[in-house]
Structure formats: C-alpha cells, structure tokens
Symmetry: none
Subunit: 80 residues, 2 copies
C-alpha cells in the first residue's frame, strides 16, 4: 500500500492512493472517502499524515470537506 521507506512522502502516497480510488469509481461522486481516523488505522499512519493527504486531495480539487460530517468526492473530476 504505502511505503514508509520510499522516497515519496507518506502523505503524498496516501493521497495518490485515494485519488486512484476516486478516479476508478471505487469512491463515486458525492460519496465520502474514509475518515481521517480510518485512514490512520487502515494505513498505520499518524493523524497529521492522513490530514495532509486529505488536504492535498482538496488542493487537487478531488474532494470537498464538511466540518463535522466528512470529506466527499466531487461530482466533476479535474483532468488527471
């Protein structure tokens, strides 16, 4: 999944992985991505790392976040 010893930062690897899930339809539009806590446990990273991954996905225009609810895949994806 993610490689802590690789040259790519963990939070970038995580973001790339989730981007793949969105682009291949595993996570459809307007459906939530895993919570920050779930990502931590699932991939064995700290919360700060999962937060930075989600932040990157927001910057890439792939997801939007609602405080107290969750983070969701956007309707129309930006070009890869």
């Amino acid at each position: 999944m993610v490689d802590p010893d690789g040259p790519t930062p963990l939070y970038v690897q995580l973001a790339d992985l989730i981007e793949g899930l969105i682009r291949d339809g595993t996570i459809p539009a307007n459906r939530p991505i895993p919570s920050e806590t779930t990502l931590q446990q699932q991939y064995g990273v700290a919360r700060g790392t999962s937060r930075k991954a989600v932040e990157l996905l927001r910057e890439r225009g792939l997801v939007f976040t609602v405080h107290g609810k969750g983070t969701y895949a956007v309707e129309t994806l930006p070009p890869a």
Copy 2:
C-alpha cells in the same frame, strides 16, 4: 516584516516582532498570540522556526502556553 537574509536569526526576528505587538497593546493580556501554524503561513517560515520564536517569548516571560489550546500574553509584562 522578517528578513531571511539579515544577520538576525528568523526566529529571533519573529519573537521581537510579536513582543512589539504585546508591548504596544495590539495583543492584550490573556489574549492569544497567533498560532504556530498562522505564524508559519503569515511569515512564510517553517514550523520549527515559529515554534522557536514562541519558545523564546516564553523564556522572556511574555507569554504562557496551554497545551492543546494556545499561547497567551501574560498579565504583567517583565521590564523591557
């Protein structure tokens, strides 16, 4: 604001700047100073740098920190 090329370390410049804000009343007693994250973004420095600046202010007796909440200006300022 802060000069990365100047002879004074960035974190000292940042601390001096905030000390000024406290002494001139811009930041009143028991009010929070900008967070480390805010300082980073505001002045374009790394977190370690903003953290060292706040640490310096603590050593100078100008602020006190509450873990998980924030850093605040003290009630009675030490002599300049």
